[in-house]
């Protein structure tokens, strides 16, 4: 992205996602008052012998959108997947040092059940992964696992989640057809709907728009704005404009270290670190 820095900040005002900047600015003003929900404290993370995160410390605010940016392989996904302990699925991974607290509770603590954690911390994957079930069954999957059987409640959740994911109007007549019959962008919004159906606290999104066309992308971005009224959102993205448009705060990573973390506006307009400056202006990465 050559010379991305100035267009990044100016273009949004002319875009359908114009509120982005306004909300960002508002968020910035209010951020001092916001409550910390995720407290990442000096975390070292290893895949077997190789260290992927070095001494990362971050405090994320409640009901804010935080973007993780950085060149490929810098550990964004790794950190994100630490937050709902998805990395537990990979053999030989460990948080060697430091702690991650969500609402004050160390998520690696002995009192924490990873199942309960994941109910509170939802995730949307880079590659949209609707289950090969009907749209309805996709959305009710999480609730049914929790033993909810009441049809009218499930119906209500399906409608609410689909509306929440801005998908209701497109699929309301085909709820019982396969989720795989949707377009790529619709599938990703279905996955978002599925994640919000269990009413988590936090939603983690790993490059949710990387496989989507610009129109679907802007739909998902609008959605993120809506969602942050209710949820805390952490989003990994390679798209600088996207980070600028939809996040309140941005963390820049490089080679497994957190280089800079500040309000999005500061990161893009006035970064403290020359590496950050170089990256957001597209000079490397």
């Amino acid at each position: 992205m050559p010379a991305a820095i100035s267009p990044t900040m100016e273009r949004p005002s002319a875009q359908p996602t114009a509120p982005a900047l306004a909300v960002s600015a508002a968020g910035t003003a209010a951020s001092a008052a916001a409550r910390t929900i995720i407290d990442i404290d000096h975390v070292d993370f290893f895949y077997g012998p190789s260290q992927a995160l070095h001494d990362v410390s971050l405090k994320l605010d409640e009901k804010k959108v935080t973007a993780f940016i950085g060149p490929s392989g810098c550990g964004k996904s790794t950190l994100l997947r630490c937050l709902n302990r998805m990395n537990d699925l990979i053999d030989g991974t460990r948080v060697a040092k430091g702690s991650i607290k969500i609402r004050g509770v160390d998520i690696h603590g002995p009192q924490v059940d990873v199942i309960e954690l994941r109910k509170r911390v939802g995730m949307v994957f880079q590659k949209s992964n609707p289950f090969p079930k009907s749209i309805y069954d996709n959305i009710t999957y999480g609730l049914r696992l929790q033993g909810v059987k009441d049809k009218s409640r499930l119906d209500a959740v399906v409608e609410k989640s689909l509306r929440g994911a801005a998908l209701w109007d497109e699929v309301k007549d085909r709820l019982h057809t396969s989720g795989l019959g949707l377009s790529g962008g619709q599938q990703q919004r279905l996955c978002i709907a599925r994640a919000i159906a269990v009413e988590p606290d936090i939603i983690l999104m790993d490059e949710p728009c990387s496989a989507l066309d610009p129109i679907s992308t802007s739909k998902v971005e609008e959605l993120i704005h809506e969602l942050k009224k209710q949820f805390t959102i952490v989003i990994v993205t390679h798209n600088m404009q996207q980070a600028a448009r939809c996040s309140d705060q941005t963390a820049f990573f490089y080679l497994g270290r957190l280089v800079e973390f500040a309000d999005t506006r500061t990161i893009f307009m006035n970064p403290a670190n020359p590496q950050t400056e170089a990256y957001v202006s597209g000079r490397f990465g």
Partner: protein
């Protein structure tokens, strides 16, 4: 008219081209030879078996062959006519014709009647071993693929499974005999046969199940776990249904193959002859499991190698072989139908 342009692409005969042709025909010939062998095997069984199984008069099927137990065949001459009658018919004949009381007859064992008990026995053996093999095989495949972490022990288990696949069937037969028949004291019985056959087919079931589980995209598991599902909920709801078509097809085919083996049931489950059907004369329900049965492959083996050969035994051999092929084909096509049904239901 202009001279035609010089052709740069004309073929240039040479050793390489000749070799190409030779190889082409070699490969083609090998393939046709395989086809020929297959055709001959099937052709012979079908042709000769059909003469036993089908008849020229309505209902065109030799019903007795499917529904009766084997009997001895009595061949004799009566009033200048050659008669071929099974045991019961022969006795009835003697009652009806008192003068035939002391005709000189030659009798051939197993050459009359049918093979109903063998069909029943084989079906029971297949069903039971399939249930055991599927349960054990799918369980351990789930463990290996979904639960176990990569470790020396797991690698050793996989190696053991691979090796198990190479063990000859007669060795399984001896193992079953030593283990189930003698050590567990189950005697020659259905249950001993079930376990022997199940162990034999286990490597196929485990390998097929693991392959099918691996083919289910990782995203299904991660997506489910990320929604707060437990591991078993994830497997049950979002992995197993999609792996099932593959698991069932390969396993059923594997079992159909193993069901044809004589060696493993020879010492463990099969009787040369048994006049009671498996559900007859049971004093308590558990007796059902502890009785031997007749079985198609063993019957073929006995008829072809344990008694004097003649035209009458040949009929039974080929008829039995034909029915057996039919049964295996039936199982195979059932598994294919099942697969396409399940595929339609759980496709991704």
């Amino acid at each position: 008219m202009d001279a035609p342009p010089e052709n740069h692409f004309r073929s240039r005969p040479g050793a390489i081209r000749a070799w190409e042709n030779v190889l082409h025909w070699l490969f083609r010939g090998a393939t046709y030879l395989v086809l020929l062998c297959g055709g001959l095997v099937f052709g012979q069984i079908v042709w000769r078996g059909a003469q036993t199984v089908f008849t020229t008069r309505a209902p065109f099927v030799n019903v007795a062959f499917f529904t009766e137990a084997p009997e001895s065949l009595h061949v004799f001459e009566y009033q200048g006519q050659k008669q071929e009658l099974g045991d019961r018919a022969f006795n009835a004949f003697k009652v009806a014709h008192p003068d035939a009381k002391d005709v000189k007859d030659e009798s051939y064992v197993y050459s009359a009647g049918g093979i109903f008990p063998c069909i029943v026995g084989t079906v029971l053996l297949v069903a039971g071993s399939m249930a055991i093999a599927l349960f054990l095989g799918v369980s351990s495949a789930i463990y290996l693929n979904e639960y176990a972490h990569d470790s020396a022990l797991v690698r050793f288990i996989r190696l053991a499974i691979l090796n198990l696949a190479g063990v000859p069937s007669i060795v399984f037969g001896l193992f079953g005999f030593g283990m189930f028949v003698i050590f567990f004291g189950w005697n020659v019985s259905l249950i001993a046969g079930w376990f022997t056959l199940a162990f034999m087919v286990l490597p196929v079931v485990i390998t097929a199940s693991e392959e099918s589980l691996k083919a289910v995209p990782k995203g299904f598991r991660e997506g489910s776990l990320a929604l707060g599902a437990t591991k078993w909920q994830t497997i049950r709801q979002n992995v197993l249904p999609y792996a099932l078509p593959g698991i069932l097809t390969s396993s059923i085919l594997g079992i159909a193959r193993v069901a044809g083996e004589t060696a493993p049931i020879m010492f463990t489950a099969a009787y040369v002859v048994r006049d009671k059907l498996p559900w007859e004369g049971l004093t308590k329900a558990s007796d059902f499991f502890f009785q031997g049965v007749m079985a198609l492959p063993y019957h073929i083996y006995v008829v072809s190698s344990k008694i004097p050969q003649n035209e009458y035994t040949a009929r039974v051999q080929y008829g039995t072989a034909f029915v057996f092929l039919l049964l295996v084909a039936l199982i195979a096509s059932a598994s294919i139908v099942l697969r396409s049904r399940l595929r339609n239901r759980y496709k991704w």
